[in-house]
């Protein structure tokens, strides 16, 4: 059975699909560490995926597409800030509202503009360039190097490298920068932060904006890199998976990233497990194999992980009173 599993393929697939969850989960980390529950990841991803794809198609330039996606995501985030920070509204409700609204709106707009059943036209050549290591004709002759440089480390778009570069950067930003310190303070105890002279609302808006940018990258990656077009509801639950990874990772960048990669790994493993005959149980039906990443998560959460501790002020609007 083991010849059916190509570990190298699984690793490559893990890396390639990682940005979807990484960007979104990091967006969640920003929002939630600042004390705002972000159930709206799914909606923001979808909106930016649509706008990114539509603009990439319109301008035939993926960078413009991404920029437009970021813009839209940030608009949603400003609304989110207005609701969560100024209005002190219910953050969970906002998230659900945006997810539902965007699922409907992106379809309606896609249909209105393109008439392809909630799909955008194919982006064709307007995609991100793929990074390749130089001297390919030298290393590609050595199989191990060919895999390492050609598939594992090389051969990805800029967004993949960006997503991975964010892991150490966010760790640094959260733990060793002024912004991170203030952000965490605002999410743990906004009253203390306020007493220390920090503008709670401003810090939270900033955190949300950072999250908005990241979340839109996730959507852009879905549409421009992974699919090559926009399709209705193409976020397909990834926003919620990202949130799961974030909770799993205790709202910390590195652990969250590990959670995302774990999902990616088991999703890739699951792809390879389909149709393979196992000893004793034989071939496991495809529908059952689909459970794998989720079952693993539950087992890890229940068995290995310590209790996850959310930021203390998470979901509580900051009101100056007792």
């Amino acid at each position: 059975m083991f010849e059916d599993f190509q570990f190298s393929t699984i690793l490559v697939a893990t890396i390639r699909s990682a940005p979807i969850l990484l960007f979104a989960a990091f967006a969640g980390v920003f929002a939630e560490r600042s004390g705002i529950i972000d159930l709206a990841l799914e909606g923001k991803m979808l909106a930016s995926a649509f706008v990114a794809a539509a603009c990439t198609y319109a301008f035939q330039n993926p960078y413009l597409g991404v920029a437009a996606g970021i813009l839209v995501s940030c608009c949603i985030v400003l609304l989110q800030g207005y609701v969560a920070i100024n209005q002190k509204g219910n953050q969970l409700v906002f998230g659900i509202a945006i997810n539902i609204a965007m699922s409907g709106l992106t379809f309606v707009l896609a249909q209105y503009f393109f008439q392809l059943g909630g799909r955008s036209p194919d982006l064709g050549a307007a995609r991100f360039a793929v990074f390749n290591f130089p001297f390919a004709d030298w290393w590609s002759t050595i199989p191990a190097l060919n895999w390492l440089l050609g598939k594992f480390l090389g051969g990805h778009t800029i967004l993949v490298y960006l997503a991975f570069a964010l892991i150490p950067f966010l760790h640094w930003l959260m733990n060793h920068s002024r912004f991170g310190l203030r952000l965490r303070a605002v999410g743990e105890n906004p009253h203390a932060a306020d007493a220390a002279g920090i503008n709670v609302a401003q810090t939270r808006y900033l955190a949300l904006l950072c999250g908005g940018v990241l979340c839109s990258l996730s959507g852009a990656y879905l549409a421009i890199v992974q699919s090559g077009f926009f399709l209705r509801d193409m976020s397909a639950g990834n926003g919620f998976l990202a949130l799961t990874a974030m909770v799993f990772g205790n709202w910390r960048p590195i652990q969250t990233a590990l959670g995302c990669l774990m999902f990616g790994f088991f999703a890739a493993l699951q792809i390879q497990m389909e149709g393979v005959a196992f000893p004793i149980v034989g071939q496991i039906p495809g529908s059952l194999i689909q459970m794998l990443p989720f079952v693993v998560t539950v087992i890890v959460l229940a068995g290995v992980m310590a209790k996850s501790v959310a930021p203390k002020a998470l979901g509580v609007p900051f009101v100056k009173s007792r």
Partner: protein, 365 residues
């Protein structure tokens, strides 16, 4: 913030203004799609509220949402965010179907239906038990585990339906149709004015559950313990309330309610189990619970609001081909946004207006 507003203002005027805002934005979209908003609104209201049959359909859709909304609300009272109602409803459907398939030839109707009810509740509860148990004993975040259990439920049901439930040679990934003894009595058979609509006994059941929920949560010792545990773990410990117990029991109840929601769809209308029959009702339940602020009347009203959007929206897209059905998904989102998340948007302005009226007339309204 709005504590200085009179109750009638917070409970009637503000929701009305919010709904109006949502509708104005929706009207803008409909206008941009090239249709007349007023006409659209007329069709929407007329088809969902304007005739008895349409209203019956509205209530039929609302029934499921009341039950899933209750499921989410109960958990919220205990401070648990059960995102898994959808999966629990799906599994509840399995419990119900197993009873039906096994006994629908051999049992009297009332007994079969009671048994199916228990099957649905039991399976729903069992599916919620695991996340509840893990939260209570292992500290695994119930939000994460219930999301995971939704996915796992989808896989499991997919497997069970296509492997064991499809009658041989059938295309449709669904069970066989239950015998008519297993069909829930339709309210239309008692009140012919309701016409031939799927509105059935589960509606009565759902309203009953709303009442029970209201009484149990606010007027019993168990409900007190539930709310206390939901607000403060320390105070619960001080009062001798077992947090673990509350978590597990609440999840069981929440799951059972979600499971029972399958009654309306399966025993009341479809009469067979099909792939993904919940159609996201569990997620709408979250919106219903949040918008209804976990209050029985709130849950009822927001469930009906969603019923209106589904029933009216559908008819509207039938009459106006320019308005895709998905427009109503968008409008749903808008309504949740304005009525649920931005509910206090007009509170300051309203309170200013009321104050100036107060001053002008020199009395307290």
């Amino acid at each position: 913030m709005n504590s200085d507003l009179p109750r009638w203002a917070t409970n009637v005027v503000l929701p009305f203004l919010n709904l109006l805002t949502a509708l104005v934005v929706a009207a803008g979209v409909i206008y941009l799609l090239g249709e007349s908003p007023l006409e659209a609104l007329a069709i929407l209201v007329n088809s969902s509220l304007g005739n008895v049959e349409g209203f019956a359909y509205t209530l039929f859709y609302a029934t499921t949402f009341i039950l899933t909304g209750l499921s989410v609300s109960v958990a919220m009272q205990a401070g648990l965010f059960n995102i898994g109602s959808d999966g629990q409803m799906y599994l509840g459907g399995l419990g119900l179907t197993l009873v039906m398939l096994q006994f629908d030839a051999s049992m009297p109707s009332w007994f079969l239906i009671s048994l199916a009810f228990m099957g649905a509740a039991l399976f729903g509860a069992a599916w919620a038990f695991i996340p509840g148990y893990l939260q209570a004993r292992r500290g695994s975040h119930v939000v994460v585990t219930t999301i995971m259990f939704n996915f796992i439920a989808a896989s499991l049901m997919n497997f069970l339906i296509i492997t064991y439930m499809i009658p041989t040679g059938e295309q449709n990934p669904a069970s066989r149709v239950f015998a008519e003894t297993g069909w829930l009595p339709r309210l239309g058979s008692v009140f012919p004015v309701l016409g031939d609509t799927p509105l059935n006994l589960s509606f009565v059941l759902a309203v009953l559950f709303l009442l029970i929920y209201g009484v149990v949560v606010w007027r019993t010792r168990w409900g007190y313990a539930l709310r206390a545990a939901g607000k403060s773990a320390h105070a619960a410990q001080y009062a001798g309330i077992s947090m673990a117990m509350v978590v597990i029991v609440t999840m069981l109840v929440s799951g059972a309610l979600a499971g029972v929601a399958a009654m309306n769809t399966l025993a009341g209308s479809m009469h067979y189990l099909s792939l993904n029959f919940t159609n996201g009702a569990g997620f709408i339940g979250i919106a219903v619970a949040l918008m209804g602020r976990q209050h029985p009347i709130g849950i009822f009203l927001s469930a009906v609001l969603f019923g209106i959007l589904i029933q009216g929206g559908f008819d509207l897209s039938l009459e106006k081909p320019n308005i895709p059905a998905e427009t109503f998904v968008f409008i749903q989102g808008l309504i949740i946004l304005f009525c649920g998340a931005m509910e206090n948007m007009y509170a300051p302005a309203l309170s200013r207006i009321l104050n100036s009226i107060d001053q002008k007339w020199g009395k307290h309204v």
